[in-house]
Amino acid sequence: MTAAAISPGRRPGRLVRRMLHGGGFWPALPAVLFLIVFLVLPMLTLLAFGFVTIDRGRIVGDSFTLQPLWAALNDTLVWRLTWRSFYVAVISTVMTLLLAYPVAYLYSQTKGIWRTLMLVAVISPLLTSALVRAYAWLVILGGRRGIVNHTLIQLGVIDEPLRILNTDYAVIIGMTQIHLPFMILPLLAVLAERDRRLEEASFNLGASRAETFFKVVVPMSVPAIFAGLALVFAISYTNFIVPQLLGGGNYATLAVQVYEQTVVVLDWTRGAVLAAILLSSSFAFVFLIVWVGSRINRWSEARA
């Protein structure tokens, strides 16, 4: 009786207190507001364009329609572009992992000045824009006078220049290099801080260096591997600069198509619909990667 009489009186006070406390939310408020105003709202606006009729830059009132989305989903070109976006991103992401892991592992084995130099070397590409780096790949991979072809022809390895530029290969090579730091950095943090005694324990139990690497070091870095995979997949899948520059005029991925529809063709409705497909599929794939990662990493949730 007394308890029942007291508790309703207490509840509002506790609620107010909890709201004032905010569970740590208040410090994040500026960032959240910034993201809402400059990311979420523009994105929603853009996506909304896909579901209304736009006539000469004006939204025709009360004209919600699923027709553009339906049309895009029935367009085999869209599916072909999505597939290309997907496999280019997958191959490039796997390549970044294969190239990044040895670098991050080497970093974790070095000390002092060499370690600092390696970190600088890993980060410094981020100081130039991805556009510049894509142009650099144009110079390297380009026709007869590109560095690769020129060297190979001079050495007599090939007679005719290799056709790398304007193919999937160029796009994958460029993307892999440009996105490498995003894979190296999470791996580097985890590998450098790892508990070396686990490796000593593995040696002590009779495992060789290679066995220890694959049975102890790699499994322990699974969270970082999947963080890197998710990050690099997302930026590779949605990248339009690299496919556009290194893929050439006749090459397109879904992201390139979004850009062209919006900026060149000025068909905002179709651009918005394609962007919605790109965004939602990207989200699904990233979610899948994270889910697989946490399945493999089940042990980390095991607590007494």
Binding site: R197, E200, A201, N204, P219, W299, A302
Partner: protein
């Protein structure tokens, strides 16, 4: 032929000489403890034996075979890490099976031996748990089972009880001692806890600054410490600057010393001293040096006194307490005597 032999091991990190010519031999089936303060090189020596540290000079032999150049994964030396270093991504059974799997043993044999190893440490039902789901004591047992399942020649343990709370520590120490005795495996412990060393080992090697100060059975070390460092590290001791005359200590004539007359240091344990109110030593009937009680604490079974007896440091005396006995008040005049003169050590003045 000793089972483990280490010959003048030297190891430096930069300018710091961590191991300065350590030589040690351990008989088969014996338990040796490396005891010393932190930074004395005891863990480095153990890691040298396991192959994690490559010595700058010296040799390591196990069973008469030189293993100095052998990589850690080719040595039959089990190592239990201070925080156990269990693989967090593997279950208890997978942790224990790890060494057998890298040795490519057939599946049924692995299963059988893992089950037996887990039974030895009474963890049979917990095979499917992850290390994070175990208590500290259980984790330690997994670490031991993981090593024992490979039937190594030598068992090395780096402060294995450090991470356990006091109560669990005591029972695990007893359990481990029994287990080692049952398996008859040559073992080396590292610890900085002297009571642990006393309890677990057949031999104790007291280390300081990369060298051995004394290697002897635990009671021998306690009763006949080689120097003040050993005396104060194992148990407590009074180090008294005394004079020698005619082969006996001036202040305690009952204590004889086969040394030339002159200054010397006397090592005497607090419990080997006694005191009585007044000026007559009740223990031997001889009069000891007179003193004044500075401080007294009754601790149930014993009373701890600090007595000013004219030495630079106050003398520490531990006497047994009878029921109802109240310690003497500070300032009381007392007479101090030695209970067993043979248990005192007279050494050269100024030995560190």
């Amino acid at each position: 032929m000793p089972h483990i032999v280490m010959e003048s091991i030297i190891k430096s990190y930069g300018d710091v000489r961590v191991l300065d010519g350590c030589s040690l031999s351990v008989e088969k089936g014996q338990v040796m403890t490396l005891l010393g303060p932190s930074g004395c090189g005891k863990t480095t020596l153990l890691r040298t034996l396991a192959g994690f540290v490559e010595p700058d000079a010296g040799r390591v032999l196990v069973g008469g075979i030189d293993i100095t150049a052998l990589p850690p994964n080719r040595r039959s030396v089990g190592y239990v890490f201070q925080n156990y270093a269990l693989f967090p991504h593997l279950t208890v059974a997978e942790n224990v099976a790890y060494g057998l799997k890298v040795r490519r043993r057939p599946g049924p044999e692995i299963k059988d031996r893992v089950a037996r190893a887990l039974d030895i440490v009474s963890l049979g039902p917990l095979g499917d748990r992850y290390p994070a789901q175990l208590s500290g004591g259980q984790q330690q047992r997994v670490a031991i089972a993981r090593v024992l399942v490979l039937e190594p020649d030598v068992l090395l343990l780096d402060e294995p009880f450090n991470a356990l709370d006091a109560k669990l520590r005591l029972s695990m120490q007893t359990e481990l001692r029994k287990l080692i005795e049952r398996l008859g495996i040559t073992s080396i412990f590292v610890t900085h806890d002297q009571s642990e060393a006393m309890m677990l080992s057949d031999q104790v090697a007291v280390m300081r600054a990369g060298t051995f100060e004394q290697v002897a059975p635990p009671l021998a070390i306690y009763d006949r410490p080689a120097n003040p460092f050993v005396a104060t590290f194992i148990g407590r001791a009074n180090i008294l600057p005394v004079g020698l005359r005619a082969g006996a200590v001036v202040d305690f004539p009952a204590v004889v010393a086969e040394r030339p007359d002159g200054p010397a240091d006397l090592i005497v344990r607090p419990e080997n001293l006694t005191l009585a109110a007044g000026r007559i030593d009740p223990g031997t009937g001889q009069s000891g040096p007179p003193g004044t009680v500075l401080f007294a604490i009754a601790q149930g079974p014993t009373i701890e006194y600090e007595v000013d007896a004219g030495f630079p440091e106050p003398l520490r005396v531990t006497v047994n307490r009878r029921s109802g006995e109240v310690p003497l008040a500070a300032g009381s005049p007392v007479s101090i005597g030695v209970i067993d003169p043979a248990a005192c050590r007279v050494i050269e003045r100024g030995t560190p």
